[in-house]
Structures are given as structure tokens and as C-alpha cells.
Subunit: 348 residues, 2 copies
């Protein structure tokens, strides 16, 4: 190993070209303002030396002197490349990367953030947020206190997924779950379903709230629209509950639960959607093997990633005017698990 060579700096270039460091900087930044004038010969001379030496400005010094880094932080509340839930983050990252590339920004993954109580923390002793010009927040549940702190600090950020206010409005790019669920409920009602059940996971996250709100909003004309909590493991109990209630359509928050529910129904000799319609309210977040084409909707994850970068760059350079909150529409998936309820099922 040779001794680490010293960087070539603007001073070196300046000396070689017989000009001042300031001139090198001006040439480098192609400044042609009225009050900054460099003779073409001088400019060429400097550029030639730069080319010869292969000089490249130190981005760190640049950042210190000016304002921005062209670095976009990405904070994930869970590891960004998990083996388990890899399908959750991946589409977001894909969109983020694509747009970051387009605007010429690098992506900084905050892998150094320590895990406390099972989740990563943004704020800790050696907080490194300021490395980036701004930050994209990814995660099913985001700590409200941390959002509040971000707002207080005036640090530019965008959450992926709608977030409730936290000491002020939270900039976000989310998916319009409420509307998507509402449309599914309306479809069910058109098919003649009268008794509906929302099968949740007992979560308080905004994404869950929004789905429930969409359910409630559209189910006004139903005979019954109730909510229950369930886990994939308790599919049989959930099925009992649905049958006892006389529900003909289940709106299932979690994809894996829907899969388990369908399997349980089949085991009992029930048909889907003949005896029971099952609607899923989102893409699988973990790989679940199934051949069933569930009726539901698609979360525009990739587009959310893209637009989160777009919004963030706006927030950073201040060009974004007012409130930066976007809800993207979800595309409905027709599938084959929502049908007309079998009249054989006893109803008045």
C-alpha cells in the first residue's frame, strides 16, 4: 500500500494555471454573471489543466461551502433489504432510485441508525440526518414524536404513506386507501351484498385507519357493516364469526389473512365467491403462495417512491409552495373472489 496521495485541490490547479483559487472555482462553476468575468483564454487554460489532472471537486467541501449535497436520505424503520419482507420496500426503492437518478441525486441509506426497542430510531446520539439535504421516511409505522422533532428542526423530509399531523402537517406521498376501499365496497353493494365485515389486524397505523374510514363511508346503505380483528393463524375462528354474522363479503386488510381465510373456507366445502366473497385491501407485503386471483386493489408503490423524491426535492429547494401532501389513486384489481352472494344463504 502506498501512502494515501493528497487530493488534487483547486489550489493546485490554480498554481499550475497561474491564476487564483477563486478563478478556478469560478471557471468550474461556469459562472458567467455580469459581475464575474473570466477571459476566454484564461478559462481555457484552467479547463485544460483540470482535464490534464483529472481534477474533481471535493463534494464534501462543496457541501460545506454551499448549501446542498445532492444527497437524498432514505430512512427505513426496518432493514431496507430484508429477506423476509423484501417485497415491501423493494418497489418503493425502485421508484426512488429511478427518480433520484433522473434528478442527479445520490441516495444515502441510514444504516447506521441504531435499533432500540426493536425499531430504528432517527434521533440518537450521533444523528447523521444532516448528511443528506433531506430525507424520505419509509415504514409501516412512523414514530409521531420523531416526526414532530423533524418538523421542529425544520428538516426537509417526506413520508411515504399518509401521516397524521405531528406538531404541524406532515409532508407525504401516500396511497388513497380510503377511496379504493370505498369503491370496492360500492362494487360489493352493487353485487347485492348486504352484510359486510371488515377484517382488520387491530392496527392503529394511518394506512389502517384510512381503509376503515373508506369502508365505513361507503357501507352506509348496507344492512350491516362491522369490523373485526383477526390474524392469519385464526382463520377458522374468523370464518365462524363471519358465518354466524351472516356476512357475505369480507374486506380483509392483510393479504396473508385473506389467503388463510380462503383456504379455511375451501376446507369446509364453501365456495368463494359463491358462499363468501373475499376482498383484499392491498398487495402482499410478504410472499404468500397462492393461486387465487383475489379481488382488491394495487398500491402504486413504485410511483409513490418516484413522487416522494419529487416532493422532497421541492421541499428542499423551497420551490414547493404550500402543503406537500399527495394521495395517489390505487388501481382496482378485478380478480375472482368478489361475486354475487348465493341466495341459498339464509337472509330475510
Amino acid at each position: 500500500m502506498t501512502a494515501p496521495l493528497r487530493r488534487v485541490t483547486q489550489r493546485d490547479i490554480a498554481r499550475m494555471a497561474g491564476v487564483s483559487q477563486a478563478t478556478v472555482s469560478l471557471v468550474l462553476n461556469n459562472r458567467t454573471d455580469a459581475d464575474v468575468r473570466i477571459a476566454p483564454e484564461t478559462r481555457d487554460r484552467v479547463l485544460r489543466v483540470i482535464a490534464e489532472t483529472g481534477y474533481a471537486a471535493d463534494p464534501v467541501a462543496r457541501r460545506l461551502a454551499s448549501r446542498f449535497n445532492r444527497i437524498i436520505g432514505v430512512f427505513t424503520y426496518e432493514p431496507a433489504f430484508p429477506s423476509g419482507s423484501r417485497d415491501f420496500f423493494h418497489p418503493f426503492l425502485l421508484g426512488i432510485e429511478e427518480y433520484a437518478e433522473r434528478v442527479g441525486c445520490d441516495l444515502l441509506l441510514f444504516t447506521s441508525a441504531p435499533v432500540v426497542d426493536g425499531r430504528r430510531r432517527i434521533f440518537h446520539q450521533d444523528n447523521r440526518l444532516r448528511l443528506a439535504d433531506g430525507c424520505i421516511l419509509l415504514g409501516r409505522e412512523i414514530d409521531g414524536a420523531e416526526l414532530q422533532r423533524l418538523n421542529g428542526d425544520g428538516y426537509p423530509y417526506v413520508a411515504v404513506g399518509r401521516r397524521d399531523d405531528a406538531g404541524g402537517p406532515v409532508p407525504y406521498v401516500g396511497a388513497d386507501y380510503a377511496s379504493a376501499v370505498s369503491r370496492l365496497v360500492e362494487t360489493a353493494l352493487r353485487h347485492g351484498h348486504r352484510r359486510l365485515t371488515y377484517v382488520g389486524m387491530g392496527m392503529t397505523a394511518e394506512s389502517s385507519q384510512d381503509r376503515r374510514q373508506g369502508f365505513v363511508a361507503a357501507a352506509g346503505t348496507a344492512e350491516s357493516a362491522r369490523q373485526v380483528a383477526a390474524a392469519p393463524g385464526a382463520a377458522d375462528a374468523t370464518l365462524d364469526d363471519l358465518l354466524a354474522d351472516g356476512s357475505t363479503a369480507a374486506f380483509v386488510e392483510d393479504f396473508a389473512t385473506a389467503v388463510a381465510l380462503e383456504a379455511a373456507a375451501r376446507r369446509r366445502g364453501l365456495t368463494v365467491p359463491g358462499d363468501l366473497s373475499i376482498v383484499t385491501l392491498g398487495d402482499p407485503t410478504v410472499p404468500v403462495p397462492t393461486d387465487i386471483a383475489f379481488t382488491g386493489f394495487r398500491i402504486p408503490r413504485e410511483e409513490m417512491g418516484r413522487q416522494s423524491v419529487e416532493v422532497l426535492t421541492g421541499v428542499i429547494d423551497g420551490s414547493a409552495g404550500g402543503l406537500q401532501q399527495r394521495l395517489l389513486p390505487c388501481e382496482l384489481v378485478e380478480g375472482s373472489t368478489l361475486g354475487t352472494p348465493d341466495p341459498a344463504v339464509d337472509r330475510p
Copy 2:
């Protein structure tokens, strides 16, 4: 939007605590050298103010003044989160993230690197490599000229995958393809195979060279050991060629080609491995649907990611002594596509 608040700096802390900026820095870095002494009361006072304000050192300034950033760059020659070949990078990134987290480093993805002639370039006008303390290079084929430049600049980096020298030895963490292929060839010979064919893709990448070398090295006692180039689309022609040659075992570089070859054989009523043994020389890089359990080996991608970070940190802080080149063993996969050649096949 409020005006972007000025950062809290060490100067602010110093003023509040009634000390100098230097003292704040010393306290912050927990300096306890013999010639640096801070009274416990002073230290506490400073720490209290730091805690109150939630101050965090600006990593950019820190980097400029000192040497390191705790940022590890990741340069991918293709997008890091591709939709197509997502399975290629993902395991590497997983290992990289895991180890980076362990050593408390952040990960910088160089998404800003522009694409020229269909591939990303490390070196371009506004080269941002120096943002990171060092860099991990990912990609099937890495430009030798760029490696040479990296070596010349004395920039710390590690390639994932073995690389030929480029103006000096290239630090890398690779997989020992040669040995893995050799062992597979030996297995085939033990099974009685005498005529072997290496089905390559006509690539010149080191990973391809190594496989071929392993093939040649172990096939010495075979009656025939030849190499052909083939693409998945030309499976039928390849099969013809194999049969004409009387080869009983095909060592197929590309997973998709192996799948196509097996399908072609089945269409012709041939059995695998009865009539033809097929060995794959690596995991699929793109998702290929197949139910066949191919005989081959597993590339320790995750471990390669982990160790690349380990090696890089060593290179960066200079603690790594000599040459940093590691070849990790590949685990053989028994599978069911390598068997004893059917004696019915005409051979002398």
C-alpha cells in the same frame, strides 16, 4: 414554510456553556489524551447543553476537517433495484446492509452517476466518489480502465467478484467458481461421464473465465472436454450439438439456458439425467420458473456482501495489511440433474 433555521453549531454550544468551540469539540470526541484535559464539571456542563439543544455535529464539516465519514459508497453498474434482474443485486445488498449496520456506517448509493453507452460510469464531470470513505463495486462486468483510475487515485474500494489486475492488484471478495466447477466435473467423472461440454455465454468476464478454468483443470482425464457458446433461445441447436458430440454431461454457465436445455430435451423424449446430465454453474440471476432441482452450486452472495464491507473498512483505515483478495467457497447443490450416463447412448 418558515425560513430554514440555521444549524446549531459548536459555537452556539460553546457560547451557551461559556467555553470555547475547541472545548466543545474535545468534549464531543471524548478526548482524554494526556495533553488534553477537561475538568469533569466543564465536561458535564457542555454535555448538558448538548443534550438540551439536541445538537448533532455536522458530518460534512466533520469529514472535511478530519478524515472519515462513516459512509460506504455502493456503486452498481446497473440500477440497484431493477425490476428485471432484482435477484442479482439483492442478496449482495442484504449482506452489505447487515454489515454496514454492524459497523455503524451509512450506505451511499451512487445513483447520480450518469449512464453513458448503456452503463453507468464512475468517473465523469462531477465525480462524487469522495463523498464516501470508500466504495463497493457491484456489477457483472466492471470497466478495467475505471479500476485502474481508482488504483491510481489511491481511492479505497473493493470489488464484489474476482477481478483481474488493473494497473495493480484489485481488492475483491469473490466466489471461488473455479473450485466449485472443478468439483462438479470431478463428480461427473466419478459418475462415469467421459464426454463433457461447457456451455458458456461467450462472456469474457472474470466470473466466466474462472468457471471455464475450473472446467478445464478438472476435465483432464475426460475423453473429451470442449466448450461451446449458447443462448437460452438456441436451446434446440445446442442440444443437437451436444448429441452429435456424444456428450453426456453439459455444464451450463447460465441458469436460464440450463432450464431451456432441459425443456428441449424433454420435448424430444430424452430423460435428464438418464440421457443427458445438466449441471448449472450458478444461481439464477433473473427469475426463471422451473420445477427442476438442478445440480450445481450456490453463490454465497450475502456473505460476499458482508465480507466486502469488512474488507473495505480495513482498506479505508489502513488496518488491512497486504493484499485484500478473498475467494469464498460455493456450496454444491446435489440436485437431480446429474446422474450416471445411460449406457444405451452409443459409446465405444
